[in-house]
């Protein structure tokens, strides 16, 4: 991403200003769309399947194969991940199994992915914008000296150049920019969990696999993974994959009023989210922050209480199926993209909603029983 690019011009043409924007013949030979399949402790990260869904569309447009890359230890069940990858659209999976690839570490994973790219020459490499994917993508792109676009919200193929047109929010979401890597390959991008929709699994779909070797031994790897402390289930806040989220903003006036948000979330079996100012003020944990610098969410129901709807918040939640906004200001920007708006004081509306949902759901549940 052009970090230092002046954004004060409305539409920058891909003008080179003396730089080479032509793809060399050698780089034109790069073919195929790759998705790095991330896993930890026996579980593949859902973002990998979301990326396969998106990668499938790109591959079809290019007439190229869609491939998954799975790196891991020899005693891990990587074949299971490959089987799942096929159902989500992968045609082929590249494996690399080595004891030093058990548990993510930057050095062996960077070498593994870099070696595979250099050997098989894909045109596009997609990774999840997770703590693992971002760590790896930045390292691999720098090693390969190619372009990497972070946190994309839309991927397309530019019809003129056949290049990947990666759109991402910038300046806290105030603007969007489309970025292309024209004269370098592969074109790399990271996408956050939940930005792309989960594709439908096609049972029975299969593909091919191949194995490569890493060629590293533990004694040459400087950084050692001493331990992994899995998050306790009780303190795991899984905001990105929650079906229902009730979020609070500074309109709640003080941290005690967040209790009303928690009450409604509990009745709905949902999670609690918050805006950046609330997190910065220490009202709730950082893991609850929704937005540009927090989590991207797409629940079935999103209730925003006392949130004005600044663009930084909006970019993290506008893909929600149903958005309900509660705000005292009828002109708050949140009402521009909410589906239902309640103009009123969140401290009064929240308990009323909690009551109404609680009674309604209890009654319906009884009917079912």
């Amino acid at each position: 991403m052009s970090d230092a690019q002046p954004a004060n011009k409305p539409a920058l043409k891909p003008a080179g200003r003396g730089r080479n924007l032509e793809l060399s013949d050698e780089l034109k030979a790069y073919k195929g769309v790759w998705v790095f399949i991330e896993h930890e402790r026996g579980h593949a990260h859902s973002v990998s399947w979301e990326l396969l869904g998106e990668g499938r569309k790109l591959a079809d447009q290019l007439g190229s194969p869609l491939c998954g890359v799975i790196l891991g230890g020899p005693d891990e069940d990587l074949d299971a991940f490959a089987k799942e990858a096929f159902t989500f659209g992968a045609d082929h999976v590249y494996f690399m199994r080595d004891v030093v690839l058990k548990g993510y570490r930057n050095e062996p994973f960077t070498k593994g992915l870099t070696d595979l790219v250099n050997k098989y020459k894909p045109e596009i490499v997609l990774l999840g914008a997770t703590s693992q994917g971002r760590d790896l993508a930045g390292s691999v792109a720098t090693t390969l000296l190619t372009g990497l676009t972070a946190d994309c919200t839309e991927l397309a193929i530019d019809p003129n150049t056949r290049a990947l047109a990666a759109t991402r929010p910038t300046f806290g979401g105030s603007l969007l920019c489309t970025i292309m890597t024209l004269a370098y390959r592969p074109q790399m991008a990271t996408i956050r969990p939940r930005v792309m929709a989960m594709p439908r699994a096609e049972a029975g779909r299969s593909g091919t696999t191949s194995e490569d070797t890493l060629g590293l031994i533990e004694t040459t790897i400087v950084t050692k993974l001493l331990d992994f402390i899995a998050d306790a289930n009780s303190n795991k806040i899984n905001l990105p994959y929650a079906d229902v989220i009730v979020s609070g903003g500074k309109g709640l006036k003080n941290p005690d009023n967040f209790k009303l948000v928690f009450d409604l979330a509990r009745v709905l079996g949902g999670e609690v989210g918050a805006t950046r100012p609330c997190v910065q003020a220490g009202w709730v944990e950082a893991d609850r922050q929704v937005g540009q610098t927090g989590k991207t969410v797409r629940p079935k129901l999103y209730i925003a209480a006392g949130i004005s709807g600044a663009i930084q918040h909006r970019v993290g939640m506008e893909a929600s199926d149903v958005i309900v906004a509660i705000n005292t200001d009828p002109n708050a920007p949140i009402f521009d993209f909410a589906h239902y708006g309640i103009v009123g004081n969140a401290m009064q509306v929240l308990p009323a909603l909690t009551q109404a949902f609680s009674a309604h759901l209890a009654q319906r549940a009884k009917k079912v029983a």
Binding site: A4, R41, R314
Partner: protein, 282 residues
Amino acid sequence: MHIVVCIKQVPDSAQIRVHPVTNTIMRQGVPAIVNPYDLFSLEEALRLKDKFGGKVTVICMGPPQAEEALRKCVSFGADDAILVTDRAFAGADTLATSYALASAIRKVNAEQKVDMVFTGKQTIDGDTAQVGPGIAKRMGLQLLTYVSKIVETDLEAGTITVERRGEGGVQILQTQLPCLITMLENTNEMRFASLPAMIHAAAYQVRKWNKDDAGVEDVTKIGLKGSPTVVSRVFGPTPRSEKAEMLVVENSSLRDISLNLLQAIFTVHPTLEQDLVDKVSA
């Protein structure tokens, strides 16, 4: 120990407004700040200095006015400040930025051996989180991103043990110095600058390096020329076409409003109602 902290001056994104017609950033009156994520790394570096002694050098690549951000870091306790500034750096993407900063850090290392480099987790304007890993790879440093805690530093053995936030848990990693660390947010709290420190910072002579001072060997690797990514289009977010269905509390009771809302939602989204019932029953 000698620690280099890379910082960036950024516009306070919370206060950025976009012109509704031209879709351009309205910079007037938007304060420039030290990227908030960088402060967690600076504070951690200062704590290491408090513990082991030594020196903290802050480096910033940016326009001349970014000197102000470096002064701020000096007021917090940084010992030396270098502004890497040259028109030739303009238009740099993260790959070109990491090349320029790595060159400058090598120069600093030649003056006095560098044991550790810190960068912020990411910036609040670019949000890429790519420059830290980029510098590490270009300099062959061990990379520790998303560090939530420095558990132990053993200068004699030249090792450091950290807790790193991974997906679904915390990794305990041990590596050799020199290394590059990016700190996770809210892992510490930046100290206050004392009045004498602020006065010292105001008069502090920030060193200014152009591309030659920074030891840039290949000018095709910096600025726009060294940037593989091309910004092809900048545009504003599209407004949602349909307006929200509005319910106004003044006109009816809170209870009626709530019931109306439930009815409205569940009529249009019957599966959502079923999902919620299932959730509650479970």
